[in-house]
Symmetry: D5
Subunit: 156 residues, 10 copies
Amino acid sequence: MKQSSFVEPMMDKDDVAAMVLSAKRQSGITWEEIADKIGMSPVWTHSACMGMNAMPRDKADALVSVMGLPQEAAFVLAESPTKVWEQAVPTDPCIYRFYEIVGVYGPTLKALIQEEFGDGIMSAIDFDMSIKRIENPKGDRVEVTMTGKFLGYNSW
Amino acid sequence: MKQSSFVEPMMDKDDVAAMVLSAKRQSGITWEEIADKIGMSPVWTHSACMGMNAMPRDKADALVSVMGLPQEAAFVLAESPTKVWEQAVPTDPCIYRFYEIVGVYGPTLKALIQEEFGDGIMSAIDFDMSIKRIENPKGDRVEVTMTGKFLGYNSW
Amino acid sequence: MKQSSFVEPMMDKDDVAAMVLSAKRQSGITWEEIADKIGMSPVWTHSACMGMNAMPRDKADALVSVMGLPQEAAFVLAESPTKVWEQAVPTDPCIYRFYEIVGVYGPTLKALIQEEFGDGIMSAIDFDMSIKRIENPKGDRVEVTMTGKFLGYNSW
Amino acid sequence: MKQSSFVEPMMDKDDVAAMVLSAKRQSGITWEEIADKIGMSPVWTHSACMGMNAMPRDKADALVSVMGLPQEAAFVLAESPTKVWEQAVPTDPCIYRFYEIVGVYGPTLKALIQEEFGDGIMSAIDFDMSIKRIENPKGDRVEVTMTGKFLGYNSW
Amino acid sequence: MKQSSFVEPMMDKDDVAAMVLSAKRQSGITWEEIADKIGMSPVWTHSACMGMNAMPRDKADALVSVMGLPQEAAFVLAESPTKVWEQAVPTDPCIYRFYEIVGVYGPTLKALIQEEFGDGIMSAIDFDMSIKRIENPKGDRVEVTMTGKFLGYNSW
Amino acid sequence: MKQSSFVEPMMDKDDVAAMVLSAKRQSGITWEEIADKIGMSPVWTHSACMGMNAMPRDKADALVSVMGLPQEAAFVLAESPTKVWEQAVPTDPCIYRFYEIVGVYGPTLKALIQEEFGDGIMSAIDFDMSIKRIENPKGDRVEVTMTGKFLGYNSW
Amino acid sequence: MKQSSFVEPMMDKDDVAAMVLSAKRQSGITWEEIADKIGMSPVWTHSACMGMNAMPRDKADALVSVMGLPQEAAFVLAESPTKVWEQAVPTDPCIYRFYEIVGVYGPTLKALIQEEFGDGIMSAIDFDMSIKRIENPKGDRVEVTMTGKFLGYNSW
Amino acid sequence: MKQSSFVEPMMDKDDVAAMVLSAKRQSGITWEEIADKIGMSPVWTHSACMGMNAMPRDKADALVSVMGLPQEAAFVLAESPTKVWEQAVPTDPCIYRFYEIVGVYGPTLKALIQEEFGDGIMSAIDFDMSIKRIENPKGDRVEVTMTGKFLGYNSW
Amino acid sequence: MKQSSFVEPMMDKDDVAAMVLSAKRQSGITWEEIADKIGMSPVWTHSACMGMNAMPRDKADALVSVMGLPQEAAFVLAESPTKVWEQAVPTDPCIYRFYEIVGVYGPTLKALIQEEFGDGIMSAIDFDMSIKRIENPKGDRVEVTMTGKFLGYNSW
Amino acid sequence: MKQSSFVEPMMDKDDVAAMVLSAKRQSGITWEEIADKIGMSPVWTHSACMGMNAMPRDKADALVSVMGLPQEAAFVLAESPTKVWEQAVPTDPCIYRFYEIVGVYGPTLKALIQEEFGDGIMSAIDFDMSIKRIENPKGDRVEVTMTGKFLGYNSW
């Protein structure tokens, strides 16, 4: 939707994300510290700050207070986002590698989940994810763990 | 490359995958049992049987023996595959949900990895993955864990 | 996967779909009658016969018996399908109109579901659908009804 | 069309949609309440406010009065829209699931409509839709119902 | 759907189109003559023979008799087709020019139809088309005429 | 080309189209009336006003006078346009139906034109089109008629 | 259209192109010699042999005689082709360079043709093309020359 | 690259193209006259003015003087351009016809160039092109001639 | 992310790239000289200035001093970039030729690397590249050399 | 072009590639050894065997003798290939990394080549490439070196 010249602009999730990034650059606080201060995980906190998840109102209020944002931002953080992500495979190497993993192992994930659980899927809605550093003498490793509720197909 | 009519067809990774699936349907063995018998993980075993990873020769020999395949199959299983995966986002719901996760959380994975490790990526080559059932009274959950070596960008 | 010349072909969901269509053309039975005979709905029955849903084993056995299919077909009907559907918007007018509806009303469905239920989605897995003729003096109408479980997003 | 610098901008459907959203945020009114006040259904009301349907002039006047919009907005609401929707399958999970449903069940809808009605389609023009909450102890369900006039193909 | 090796192939619309083209080449009959013999228009007759429209059963029987096709072909001609057409703009110059016309004049057609009839569309289902040679000293012209029922949008 | 900050903007066809639409909204004049006043057809007039055809200078002068546009607009209306139209099939239902018609009947148009005229095409340059309401008790119909000069392929 | 199993295959333009290439390889004749023998230009002759132009019947008869093809091939060479060419920019470097030329100089061709001739186009139907070697001490050059009739847009 | 708000904008090739077009409209000079005044061909002159070729510095100075542009423009005209052209086939009929020609005759150009010169390509870099009016009683023709150096593939 | 109107804009990598280009045009310094002054290679220096690589802080400070940029620019140069590159094959001939090389020789690179090193890849992260002029009497040559660490696939 | 059923199949480059691969698997010879035996580089030899470069006739004869191929294969190896490569970015990680390099460093290659040589390109036709193992205690490196003749743009 184009910016109307007939009505005042409303603050939206992109505005709030820009405010968070600006406050973060000025204060030097890390995502892990922000997450810690609002009592949530870093993955979810970053995602919700960037506008890809809705914050429960109390978490939104906490974030606004931690980052020094205007009060209207809490209202915006609590709204349901429209999740728009790159439809083409993204080019940034750090993100691309995850697409490569899902591309190579997608049919394997399907085969093993359905062998174990029956016909259905792992939910991406009732879902969580975390990232951890694994020390290793040959070079530290990134560990990514996700869990999602198994949902079985309905027959009717 | 089209099937030449001037030369005998060579057995390739698609042929071996079809043999494995056929032997698996007839014997009723599971992926977990196959993996166990060759002493590897189920994720890697399924992926290598389907032609998306190369098997070390001893594992290829073990698989051929477990599944009753012809000896030439071990040679084929040990070749480097050309990994071709769906360039468009796949439609099968069980696979699609993983693209949705990577689409929504890709920038978050990048931000948190680079905050923790510096400028670089998680390798998709020096990489492993596992799948586990997490019992839960509200409905069992699928847990997917992956680790990859952190690789820092070079400056020169 | 190409048809291997090194192993016997296995019956798959496309084979079974072709068998059902052939038996249906010869017997003149309708989808509604087939559904009725196996005690399921017409929408689910057509979809499972065409290979887009997995049949519970007893329903697969019933279908095989109703349509006079070989016993192996019941095994195939019970397998988890890989659901591949047209990624481009399809051109057949009868199917296209449903894409047009979802295209025009998609944001409306989202806004009203999230206003009523909170941040989340209607499941396409725990889901059912039916089709009905509504008589109308200005021309009979098609009624399509679908229900899906509401799934709320997780915060963690 | 680019914004001309040689002529005053004209109010258009995007401007009116922005005004409605702004007034809605300030007043806290729901789509259901707005629909109720103008005597139309929530689905159609949201869609017409967002610029995807044309309002009969009396409904446009009622909306302008309910939401406190300038009188010119009623003129704009009554114009025929150019319905532009996402040509690629959208990524927002709540909207995507409806594309998944249409993708999986499109051929089923076609087969059952044409078995019942003959060669033709369900109209997406002479069409209506509603959304309802179905209470359910295992989790409430979203019910979507749509009806469209059957249109038979012409032979000539 | 792949050609199953577990069931006899069924005659389909592509088979019948090939039979019609083969019989037409051998007999030298024109589309206009075929249309005339079955009492329908050339446009509709060609389209139905090529599998893009369903024939009423009596017309299918007439065509089978005129072209010397096997009786099963009449059954196939009467089935509802799945209309699949080139999603990309086609390259054949004779067909491309019609896309160019619709591309250039599409918004004009919309503006003038909606100015004359109100908010709605020209049906492509309750529709007919004809082609005629217009003699002209500067070079004969092709005249294409189409009519379709106007369908007004529903408000509810 | 981006708007240069080093040179005054030049009036272009988009500017003139915006002026025409603005003047048309204020005066309430219809496309048919505009066309009548400049002595041309409604299809061509709308298309040329929207910047998809070049006006002969006298027609451009007449339009400028009828609509009260600045004199420079006549110069712009007479320039050769760069005809840019939607490369993807457009989503607006009123325009889409014409693509559906060309998609379904494109091969038919080619077959019948070439049967009648020999190897060649209908010109989209030496071309005209008109739209008419056909009254009909079952619902009025839209009639679209186009003629284009037949152009035969050269052999050399 | 799939190869029907219910009717004998008909010889088509691809068959004839394969016959010409086979006869050409065995005899060692060049395109220039073939063109010369049938009294046409090499560009048109190659294009028509490959199925991208229709041959007048006498030229088709001459070609059949020169290349030793079966008589039915002359009938096929004289049919109107459906010209299908690569919709994506082709990758072969020798062909790609021509797309690069048209891409870079397309707007220039338009500007200079319309400056010289007025609003219209160069026909690609009433068209011819030739290729010539230009000797040059710094390296011989390829010269490509094409002419097409200018077609002016119609106003109506 | 977005317009930075931290640094003054630099004049670029789009700015200079806009200046040339503006000066050309005001003075009424033709491309042929501009080319003549700077002693170059019209094709190259238009292309370089539009930013698709780099001008030698003396030609850039001459153009700046002929068109009355600021001196900085000569510097910009002499820079190497980044040649960005429409990746999709363009819709303007005058440009499209050249894509049609290259699409239909691309394989012919390749076959005849390689028959005459051996394995290699016609250069699009060491290249020139001209356009000429050919008078003809049946309608004047556009003649386009291009020459490019033949480049043979290297073997090593 | 759109430019928020609720928060001051933050300097980003595009801003810094514009500053570098502006300072470079005014001073006439070459990329080779800039690289030399900060003690890095020209390839890496250009890439990091354009925002496609992160600079170690001391190199960023050196660049800011060499080019006379504001101090905040050093902070920005040191951030991890999101590497976005053209997903479609680019049209500029100088860049396109490298895609052509990778397209033609990609499978060759794979075959020879894996023959020499085993199953794995050349890293694009632990990577460097240089460009050199090779004098040659038949015309000087561009030499591009790249090295990347070999990474072997993991089995687990 | 489909396989004609009216003419014997001709051996083509795909057939020869399949013969080479089959002979290579049976003999265990490496690409480096094959190249050595015909006195050419491994990169060019692999590429020409796979059908992406034309062999001079003496090299083709040598290859046929080394690999024990039928004599007709030498004729085919010497023909000009049509170089078709993946238009979409390929998914195999070993090949993808080279696209990533060209994507990230494309504009850098252009800037540095044109700074050093002037306006022009590195030829991909008068071109060569080699691959080498660089021993390194932190892990061996792949070195890829390519040289191409610089070609300057023509002005005319």
